[in-house]
Amino acid sequence: MIRFPGSNADLDVVWVIRKVAGVNASLVWHKEFRHGIYDAIVLPGGFSYGDWLRAGAIAARSEVMDEVGEDVLNGVPVLGICNGFQILVESGILPGALLPNTSGRFICGWVKLRLLNPRGPWLKLAQHGLVVDMPIAHGEGRYYVDEEPINRPMIKYFDTNPNGSSYDIAGVASESGLVLGLMPHPERAAEQILVPDDRTPGGLIIWRSIASALKEGW
């Protein structure tokens, strides 16, 4: 778990990885991260560098992302959540761009999502078309891309598109599924106690997948 100045969901993800996925996790300050050490990497939500310039723009150009890039080349799974997704997109590891929501406002709330073409370590246990619940919380989550990346694993908003994203895209992965970025927060939908009455803990599929993938491959 890489912590940038301004990351704020880092401890949440560490908690869930340890408690729900049953996998050990360490919080690593961005200056201290080196490639070749960890089995998987998470870039957490928050406001790295205060979202100055654009969300994720400064973190994407910081030295740690060269180290992350090195790990990706060596097949280390990377997950970017919310601001982490913004960083992956800004650094060019994932395609597209993330723009301010069409409403112009920050939006926090639960959404329904559909998982498409699942493969790779983060979606190993999902079936194509699976619908899950997760909450979103972002001001710049409108995914923009010219052409729909149809061959990749994707996560799409299911009944309503809360931010005006192209093709209802909430998350997208590299073609192999090794690197996944998404705006919704799977760590907030991993324990029943935090799930509203009419929802289910839809983030579990990601945490169970990575736990299984790290133990048995994908």
Partner: protein
């Protein structure tokens, strides 16, 4: 307020000479109303502040209450009314920053924020700009520092069209053994960490201690500008330093800046301080010593550290790229000596600086208050469905989702009951145990206070108590914010004194210690100097042993029963109903009923604990009719209720039963198979309850015996409830 001639001669007496410019600035900042409470201290002594759970009461930057044996909850409320009136975005944002730092001074980790907003009419263009600015300021700052805004309240009234009231509260948690509460000693070092000191917020506290003139925009330099990233780094670094036990004592550099922090710290511990201003990291050159002393630049903390721990503390701060300066040390002579460029620019006794004499102002009951109509004449109403729609579409009743959806209320993965789902927010405390938790909520009703400040303030305490009960918590303590007008005007000061007394009485009755709070004076309309409606806000915290038992207010299952707990009286004075339907703001407001609050609260707590209750909603603004509508909308379920089953006293009309705002009442969804046991328990405890009807279908039907009064589809109710506020604000 600038120093008076009287105060000036007192300062000369204290010093035995003419004060220097730096000294004058220090006195002006510290003796401002905002920092010294000189006009309120006398009355604040009426508040009950202790019981066996209170670890630290009023007096520090924040109080602490014991929770679950090993832990302390640190929570406090703050107002940022003046700055928000001038610059809503930065004013509200820095309000959040300040309250979070107050919580951090005891070493607590901030885990929740609340906002209590009193805003103008959305249809008024200026008020609309203020509304958007305030909410965006809270959203941008709170979201960036990663502390969820989980609860609060919003009230709309034209009285706030040019001048909003922005109250914010924060809750933190720390192990009792790690509370930063050592006794500072002579020789300890004074460290200022965080933001550099600049010219922003110069005399902010003095600015907040007088009325804003119509030239208010010239005061923009008195408003601070926030940097949430810096605040987030401070939170992370100070959490780490506290964990390592590196800090002996902390103060936020808030209102009055260095001057206030130094004098309060030294005076509270019979110490003095030697400060070299040249060592402080500044944002701009050529600042005068007086500017440095009273600057209210944000995101700065004053840390007191033993000299042999300085290196360790420095290492933590550096890791987070935080600047810091060692600006001096504590001394034993009780004098604050400030040096700048080799010169002694101030030399004042800390005790005298810290505590100006109490000011008592004249009190006069306003003529406007005497002439309020106490007798209500309400026209006959035939179409009660229409009346329900009017009440439910009031901005004071409808869903506040437009506001809270702009807040990241889930960060921290603690929020079990989220905004809009229950009467209070519920958070789990993983550091205590898997299912331990707390409930938090804030309340206040300016219309009640306008019609009766004593009872209106008392009712805010009662409502907060009920909201904490409704979700299944045991209320432990409250903090209060008294928003009032100009204390120098006898008619304004009267409201303040009445409000304090109302809080003191009700808190004592409900055995809730008022562990901290704030007073905000000089809240006056920019255009004509009239006081904006004064209001008392109460924020309370309750403890929950098992958050799995906490309940929301959405109806859950067809076939369950809806019961009303408590007695309904013909109390329509000051109600949302007579305001929305007849434009009336008159009459006597509902009586506070402390003994019923305790009895009925105990009963509802038992229903929740035994698992009989699946949904609980307290009955307040809009009465039974609004409360049942909200339960229907949230659960998307219908219900037929019979008003003849409501335990009522002296009610001669249907609208009295539907819309009365009598205190100490709840609506509860009782599991079908538990109704008998629930009623038996009510008899045992001598609580009056009525079984109103069964959950079923997709419409809300209200009857009296065989007589149909209201039939509205749930979809229509939902449309009104969910979408009205966005329409009003976004147009």
């Amino acid at each position: 307020m600038p120093l008076t001639t009287e105060e000036l001669s007192e300062i000369k007496m204290i010093l035995g000479r003419e004060p220097t410019r730096a000294e004058l600035s220090m006195f002006e900042a510290q003796w401002s109303e905002h920092c010294s409470y000189k006009s309120s201290r006398y009355y604040l002594r009426l508040l009950p502040t202790t019981n066996s759970n209170v670890l630290i009461g009023p007096g520090r930057d924040a109080p602490a209450v014991k929770a679950f044996d090993r832990f302390a909850l640190v929570f406090k409320i703050e107002s940022h009314n003046h700055p928000s009136a001038v610059d809503p975005y930065n004013g509200a944002a820095t309000g959040i920053g300040g309250i979070v730092r107050d919580i951090m001074t005891l070493g607590a980790k901030p885990i929740a924020l609340l906002d209590l907003l009193f805003l103008g009419e959305p249809s008024n263009q200026y008020a609309n700009w203020l509304i958007r600015g305030v909410v965006k300021g809270i959203s941008d700052y709170g979201n960036r520092i990663g502390v969820p805004v989980v609860a609060g309240m919003i009230w709309f009234d034209k009285s706030y069209n040019t001048y909003p009231l922005v109250n914010v509260a924060c809750v933190g948690i720390v192990e009792v053994s790690k509370l930063v509460n050592s006794v500072p000693e002579a020789g300890d070092l004074i460290v200022v960490a965080g933001n550099s000191t600049g010219r922003d917020g110069i005399f902010g506290s003095s600015f907040a201690s007088k009325s804003l003139g119509s030239d208010e925009l010239s005061n923009i330099s008195a408003v601070q500008v926030g940097n949430p990233l810096m605040e987030k780094l401070l939170i992370d670094a100070i959490t780490e330093a506290t964990e390592l036990g590196l800090i002996k004592y902390m103060k936020d550099l808030g209102g009055g800046g260095l001057a206030t922090a130094l004098s309060e710290l030294a005076a509270d511990h019979n110490l003095g301080a030697v400060v070299i201003l040249d060592s402080l990291h500044l944002r701009e050159g050529n600042m005068s010593p007086e500017e440095i002393l009273v600057s209210e630049s944000q995101e700065r903390m004053m840390l007191i550290v033993a000299s042999d721990r300085l290196n360790d503390l420095g290492a933590v701060l550096k890791r987070y790229d935080l600047e810091y300066s060692v600006i001096g040390y504590l001394s034993s002579d009780g004098l604050i000596k400030v040096y700048y460029r080799g010169e002694l620019v101030a030399n004042v006794p800390a005790k005298e600086l810290a505590k100006p004499r109490i000011r008592l102002w004249d009190i006069e009951i306003p003529e406007e208050y005497r002439s309020l109509g106490r007798e209500l004449r309400i026209p006959e109403v035939n179409d009660l469905s229409h009346a329900l729609r009017k009440v439910l579409s009031s901005p004071n009743v409808v869903s506040k989702e437009w506001v809270y959806s702009q807040y990241d209320y889930e960060v921290g993965i603690r929020t079990v009951i989220k905004p809009g789902a229950g009467d209070a927010a519920v958070l789990r405390l993983m550091e205590v145990s898997e299912y331990a938790g707390i409930a938090v909520k804030g309340d206040g009703n300016p219309r009640y206070v306008y019609l009766n400040p004593f009872m209106g303030a008392a009712n805010a305490v009662g409502e907060c108590y009920r909201n904490l009960i409704s979700v299944g918590s045991k209320p432990v303590a409250i903090v209060d914010e008294l928003n009032a007008g100009n204390p120098e005007k006898p008619t304004h000061y009267w409201y303040f004194t009445q409000m304090v007394k109302g809080v003191a009485w009700m808190a004592q009755e409900l055995k809730l210690p008022v562990v901290g709070g704030k007073v905000s004076f000089y809240n006056e309309d920019l255009s004509n100097g009239s006081q904006v409606r004064p209001v008392t806000t109460i924020v309370g915290v309750g403890l929950i042993d098992d958050v799995r038992k906490s309940v929301t207010y959405s109806l859950k299952n067809d076939g369950d029963y809806v019961i009303v707990v408590g007695v309904t009286c013909p109390e329509l004075g000051g109600s949302e109903y007579i305001y929305r339907c007849f434009g009336l703001e008159a009459g006597e407001i509902p009586l506070p009923r402390p003994s019923s609050e305790i009895l009925n609260g105990t009963y509802v707590s038992k229903l929740i604990d035994l698992g009989y209750a699946l949904a609980v909603h307290d009955v307040d603004v809009g009465g039974i009719a609004a409360a049942i509508s909200e339960m229907c909308v949230k659960g998307m379920k219908g219900v037929m209720i019979d008003l003849s089953k409501v335990p009522a006293r002296g009610c001669s009309r249907f609208d009295e039963i539907m819309f009365s705002e009598s205190q100490a009442r709840y609506l509860v969804e009782v599991r079908r198979d538990c109704l008998g046991k629930a009623l038996e328990l009510a008899r045992d405890l001598n609580v009056e309850v009525g079984v109103l009807g069964e959950v079923h279908g997709d419409e809300l039907a209200i009857r009296y015996g065989d007589l149909d009064l209201v039939r509205v589809g749930i979809n229509e109710l939902r449309e009104i409830y969910d979408n009205t506020l966005e329409r009003l604000i976004e147009g």
